[in-house]
Symmetry: D3
Subunit: 190 residues, 6 copies
Amino acid sequence: MSDRQISRFPLAPVESLPDDLREYVENVAERTGFMPNVFLTLVHRPDELRAFIGMHDALMMKDTPALSKADREMIVVATSAENDCVYCVVAHGAVLRIRRKDPLIADQVATNYRKADLTSRERAMLDFAVKVATDSASVSNADFERLSGEGFTEEDIWDIGSIAALFAYSNRMANFASMMPNEQFYSMGR
Amino acid sequence: MSDRQISRFPLAPVESLPDDLREYVENVAERTGFMPNVFLTLVHRPDELRAFIGMHDALMMKDTPALSKADREMIVVATSAENDCVYCVVAHGAVLRIRRKDPLIADQVATNYRKADLTSRERAMLDFAVKVATDSASVSNADFERLSGEGFTEEDIWDIGSIAALFAYSNRMANFASMMPNEQFYSMGR
Amino acid sequence: MSDRQISRFPLAPVESLPDDLREYVENVAERTGFMPNVFLTLVHRPDELRAFIGMHDALMMKDTPALSKADREMIVVATSAENDCVYCVVAHGAVLRIRRKDPLIADQVATNYRKADLTSRERAMLDFAVKVATDSASVSNADFERLSGEGFTEEDIWDIGSIAALFAYSNRMANFASMMPNEQFYSMGR
Amino acid sequence: MSDRQISRFPLAPVESLPDDLREYVENVAERTGFMPNVFLTLVHRPDELRAFIGMHDALMMKDTPALSKADREMIVVATSAENDCVYCVVAHGAVLRIRRKDPLIADQVATNYRKADLTSRERAMLDFAVKVATDSASVSNADFERLSGEGFTEEDIWDIGSIAALFAYSNRMANFASMMPNEQFYSMGR
Amino acid sequence: MSDRQISRFPLAPVESLPDDLREYVENVAERTGFMPNVFLTLVHRPDELRAFIGMHDALMMKDTPALSKADREMIVVATSAENDCVYCVVAHGAVLRIRRKDPLIADQVATNYRKADLTSRERAMLDFAVKVATDSASVSNADFERLSGEGFTEEDIWDIGSIAALFAYSNRMANFASMMPNEQFYSMGR
Amino acid sequence: MSDRQISRFPLAPVESLPDDLREYVENVAERTGFMPNVFLTLVHRPDELRAFIGMHDALMMKDTPALSKADREMIVVATSAENDCVYCVVAHGAVLRIRRKDPLIADQVATNYRKADLTSRERAMLDFAVKVATDSASVSNADFERLSGEGFTEEDIWDIGSIAALFAYSNRMANFASMMPNEQFYSMGR
């Protein structure tokens, strides 16, 4: 895969990163088995890379009783599909399959989460996330009440909305920069 | 203004912040004359506050020959208006009036930037930013060529798209959390 | 401000108007302190100017127990914002600030009336007006029942819908003719 | 046809109108062979009826070399169809068939004017009118240049846009008030 | 009417059809009094013509206690109007007028079925059909329950949805091929 | 997988089919290795199953110099993704991977064909197909000229539009009936 198949902007070498960031992305690459392209596309902007990693890990790398890591990945896939983002749907689809141990869920959620085999709690979570992604100006008390009724805490609701908001950022970055996912993501977890 | 008029989520005291963040927001408050509500709404999540500040300053606090700080604020106002975000339109409208030394521009750009009194370069910049904000999946080579033709460098184009992407995040946060701007913003720079 | 900054169509002199219209617009100019540009843009079409004034005053210059003049201006700002009309949002935003004695309301309603600090009655009024403005074909009995439940009479409901309809006309006129508001409107009532 | 099949608002008797308006609508009824329901629905608001008639006749009752009365009716049918307005499509469809001496044109224009058998001039006229009706905020110089290139004068362009704007008003009135056309209109001119 | 006024694709002679299809379309032409253009446009593709006739007759040529042939035509007119299909609105509008013995219904349903004079059962039927036509991905249990509540059987619901789906096909064929209806259809049943 | 996980309508046994249809679907099942659920969902309506198979095979089972079987599957995946149809995206995505011998293409085209690695010819083909799927009323001469310029014959253009139209039918059927794809499709050809 040539550079321009990863991003329409020039790629900088990982070695040019400040030590903390270089170590961070090399650790991820070691655990994953390859360096996710999203890191490569941001190397030329270390401050933006650091902020992205900070926001991502604060929202995605935790489990609460009502909002697992798999749930968080499902939010990413559902909202990224609304934004037609190839990078995020394919890469986070892979993580979702693995975290949920379900080879079918990512394609269902990416195509139409309303037809996926979900619980009432999961459906409420995705309805809220997709509303934040596509029509946040209309979010109202009724939306919050439905989530509370499904057992989500106020902090969980913040997380659901914030994950949808974070990937509103990521989807737009990946789309305008034509970032493409690593080939490995397509078949992981199937 | 009571807490719940600032955000529908509970506010934590600024004193609870790690020192670096506390000093940062207190410095902004001193320069501005008041503490912008956006900081207050994020105090309960210091990692997210740090990431937001990092991304914001990397993209908004620089000038390039073709993309001034005022231009960057204009991108925020135009894209935030598309997302009906009261906080961002009012607060960044104030900053735009001040940076551009123009008391009329913010209301024009917030209502319909196509009718504002703009140069061809500015119009191209906002057309691209609004496309990233509302239909990033359709961004194409022709969009990049128009910006290059107006004198924007590849790094400027990255900035224009990234600012639109960052405020896709901020607008959704402010909308679902019902963040409201400080009263002072409404009249600054008029 | 040159003529072409007021309208993309040629302006005729106020002196060319029939006496009744000339006196009317000069009276408004005297009370307001300046001649609103909307009148200037219509001088070349006296019959249309007369009809516009007739319709405007019949709907906007009255108070009923449930629908004040300030309420009527709020309808104009909310629906004109949906249509991205710079003239109507800025000029009627000024009148709204003055009639309601509230310097913040116009910017809130113009950006997202759902987040403005409104009563249940005001929210119902604007939901109906915006539905008439953007999707009148779907207005149904349930919409009328909600307004009745908030204390609006049948004649009030006619007024709410008619104001939204009248500014559907005005917004389109101002948009295709690129009418721009007088500079004074931007800061009135702040 | 009972009153409530004409409008969801109460009808006032024609006799209650001021003399000038009563004579006007009775003259129309005599020429047409029946009293068009639109007048009946406005009798309870004589000032609004007078303004509507004034605006309507100023824009619809004239011929210019490039914009005939039939052309004007075609604009009404095309834009009213975009707004799903039964009264205006049926009543002005009848007038269009008669003025153009063409029994097929109204149904074609009402369903999809892009597939109707039109000249390049007529197609440009309707493209502009429909843009004013549905997306006036985006009207640009290129739209004006296309009309000039087809032989329309600046005054004609004002008329095309104004007719679309006037029926933006009428369509919303008819839709929210559930005005229904007289049965005679359905078959006139076929 | 020349060939190119019937379809933008070349027409093959009816004589070139296999015997069963030729007899079928000639029988229809004899009963109707003329050969409907839709058959002419498909002669060059006999397998597609046979499939279309098979699907059409399976869904349109039956009566059930809750879903008459006139109801089925009303579904065609309402959904074809959403797709702006001149052929289907005009041709099936004619059949609807005849089957329902109502000269006004087709124009009402084609312009805005929500304003047509319909029963609660008919309104539910068209709301479902239009949802299948325009937003099938969102069809949910609540939509089925409303239809059951109006007395439709499970087989009827299949038919309503399938008719909307079949004309999703037909509308797109007629639109991209610019198929135009026979002149006779415009005035039949008025 | 239980019946209700295949369709929300009751399934009839394959044995109940007329001999020609039973043999047809059993042959497909033998070649594929399993019986595709789409057939099962249509067994209770043999005439509709026969028409669907007839139309499908007429359009999908042929190769022309400019329009291969893989191209035809790519049209199905791109247009079905616009309609959020889980069955068609997953099942035809599998066929596309196999026919094109490309394990990555289906996920790219299903998420955003504009970002997929396609030739100019393929991109023109999908732009046309998606326009027929989503806005067929606006198809114009310019759309045909672009396809001709890419080497498609008039018969190829008919096929591209017709495939988009056929799956407008299939997508709506699968969506309202909640048809779900066989598990095998998800991993075929990866």
